[in-house]
């Protein structure tokens, strides 16, 4: 099912089957080039598959943007240990709702992507780790997996070859940290989702202590198109160092929020005003989050001339992240935004390492007090200092994810913090109440 109208400006590669009748069924999949890439990959050498993925310039869609071809090449294919494919469908980064639509509308594309990765890594089993809240997706995937077994795309001797592969779904039970790859692997093994020390990376020591390819749902979903139409064709859709398209979750104060598939390098202005139909109520843009709540927040001025790609975002000291875009209008209280973001990280910190556990909870307390009008001038510096002391000092990147947006907000919108001083109530509170009335 589609929850928003598609935009004519989209380039629909991964979402090409969205909206077709029974788009999740294997019949629809097969009628629209489904499992063609698998047939092709079965005739290719693993090195050739990896080469094709490198050519595509596909970068991980889970947040970090690491080259997928490189990642696949790190798996020691000749190791005597079994190798595993793990799909990160934890999708818990706030503002991210794209893996959900990918699985709901086209589960076979994900299964085919896993099979291609399995051929590249010599893996024979794969797990799809799905956040617990997405229960209906487990049913959709289990149905698709059963169909794929019936049609000979999963199981023993796939399509009459010597290649065998089994796919399983695995549910999480509510924990953002389990989206972090090493915590996910602990969780998959039936433990608390505490991150592992790295190196070794999952490519070498991953699921059940064996070599593992671990990617985001959208990353695997790109593989069939890459193998089917060639890596070069995929690369050409994007910008020089980042190929293809990105499912972008447009949210916040826009007229037409929704999940849209846009080529990498798409103009931010066009995304807000044409794809998103402009800002609600004709208001002005105040702040912009490009890829989930862990990214540094940009001002309207910083968005000028900006494009949606990894390098362009890095130049503005932020990240493309998971593709979760937040548009905030001129009436948004940035102290409140900082506070809500920190409440999330304080709640989700797994408690394993002290800088993250203590840092996030102190920041939450300080921000709550500040927003309630009980802040002191010194708090403004303290918020920045606390966040900076967490940066780079935590066991896994959750600490950075909490620190980065906070530092950017307190530095760029210091004036709003000033305006909350001296027991004054939040200057925006009435405005937002008016909006809701």
């Amino acid at each position: 099912m589609l929850y928003n109208e598609p935009s004519p400006l989209e380039v629909r590669v991964l979402s090409r089957r969205f909206g077709l009748p029974n788009s999740a069924s294997i019949d629809t999949y097969l009628a629209t080039d489904g499992y063609k890439a698998l047939r092709k990959a079965l005739e290719m050498k693993p090195e050739e598959i990896i080469e094709e993925v490198k050519t595509s310039n596909l970068r991980g869609r889970g947040g970090a943007g690491f080259s997928t071809g490189m990642k696949w090449s790190f798996v020691p294919r000749t190791s005597p240990k079994p190798k595993y494919i793990v799909v990160n469908a934890d999708e818990s980064e706030p503002v991210t709702c794209k893996d959900r639509v990918l699985i709901e509308n086209d589960p076979h594309q994900l299964i085919e992507g896993m099979l291609i990765a399995a051929l590249a890594a010599d893996a024979h089993a794969g797990y799809i780790y799905i956040r617990g809240e997405y229960r209906y997706l487990i049913d959709i995937l289990d149905t698709a997996i059963a169909e794929a077994y019936q049609h000979g795309y999963l199981g023993k001797n796939i399509l009459g070859t010597s290649f065998s592969f089994d796919a399983y779904t695995h549910t999480g039970a509510g924990a953002y940290e389990c989206g972090e790859e090493s915590a996910l692997l602990e969780s998959l093994e039936g433990k608390r989702g505490i991150p592992r020390i790295r190196p070794p990376f999952p490519a070498v020591v991953g699921a059940f202590q064996c070599p593992t390819v671990l990617n985001n749902v959208e990353t695997y979903c790109a593989a069939p198109a890459i193998i089917r139409d060639g890596g070069a064709a995929f690369a050409a859709l994007g910008v020089p160092k980042a190929g293809g398209t990105k499912l972008t979750c447009l949210t916040g104060h826009v007229n037409k929020p929704g999940v849209y598939e846009l080529p990498l390098g798409f103009s931010v202005d066009k995304m807000i005003n044409e794809v998103g139909g402009g800002i609600r109520g004709g208001k002005k843009l105040k702040a912009f989050i490009p890829g989930g709540s862990s990214c540094p927040v940009l001002t309207a001025a910083e968005c000028e001339g900006l494009t949606m790609d990894y390098d362009a975002m890095a130049k503005r000291k932020t990240m493309l992240g998971s593709g979760g875009v937040v548009i905030m209008d001129e009436d948004t209280c940035m102290v409140k935004v900082a506070l809500r973001i920190m409440r999330f990280y304080a709640h989700e910190s797994c408690g394993w390492c002290i800088p993250c556990r203590e840092g996030t909870s102190w920041l939450r307390k300080t921000l709550v007090r500040f927003h309630d009008g009980m802040g002191q001038r010194d708090d403004i510096g303290l918020i920045g200092d606390l966040a900076k002391n967490m940066l780079g000092r935590t066991f896994c990147p959750l600490g950075d994810a909490a620190a980065l947006p906070t530092i950017s907000i307190v530095e760029k919108w210091a004036a709003e913090f000033e305006a909350h001083l001296n027991g004054r109530p939040c200057p925006y509170e009435n405005v937002s109440q008016l909006v809701m009335a």
């Binding site: 709702c97 617990g132 093994e189 039936g190 433990k191 059940f208 447009l250 104060h253 709540s293 999330f344």
Partner: protein
């Protein structure tokens, strides 16, 4: 402990899904699926799952406290989970939350006296582009307005 045949089938499948000797991996899915049937993670359920995956009950207890969806006490029949994370916050999620609390007279993780409805303020549930959003048990409700929430709660109060 006895479960429905459907749940037993799920357990069988889960226990065969992981490499030999790694059956502990089935623990969290088993607990969550069983909780949906039993209503909460009871002492008895912990012991049963521990036995089936081959670990000490304490090792199951230790895992349960980590996962926010696993709970020891029963929730309402209809568990209403309202997201107030950033995309929902900007589109009225917090007002929905306050509205639901006022209307039902209960707060975070509380249950109405008749046991019908429970409330929880949740983090992002992956419906940000169709915010504000909530879930009733596992069902999503998108672009919720205070009026839609009223209708929903009235319906849930009457539903058996």
């Amino acid at each position: 402990m006895t479960f429905s045949p459907e749940l037993e089938a799920k357990f069988d499948k889960l226990l065969k899904s992981y490499p030999p000797g790694r059956q502990r991996a089935a623990m969290v899915p088993m607990l969550l699926f069983a909780q949906d049937e039993v209503g909460s993670v009871t002492r008895e359920l912990v012991d049963e799952v521990a036995k089936r995956v081959g670990v000490q009950a304490l090792q199951v207890d230790e895992v349960i406290t980590y996962y926010s969806m696993l709970h020891r006490k029963p929730l309402g029949k209809h568990h209403v989970q309202i997201c107030t994370n950033i995309s929902c916050l900007l589109t009225g999620g917090e007002e929905l939350w306050k509205h639901a609390c006022a209307k039902l007279g209960i707060g975070h993780k509380e249950v109405t006296p008749d046991g019908r409805i429970s409330l929880e303020e949740v983090e992002c549930i992956g419906a940000c582009s169709w915010a504000p959003a909530l879930q009733v048990n596992y069902d999503f409700h998108h672009q919720v307005t205070p009026e839609k929430l009223d209708q929903l709660l009235d319906r849930l109060r009457k539903l058996t």
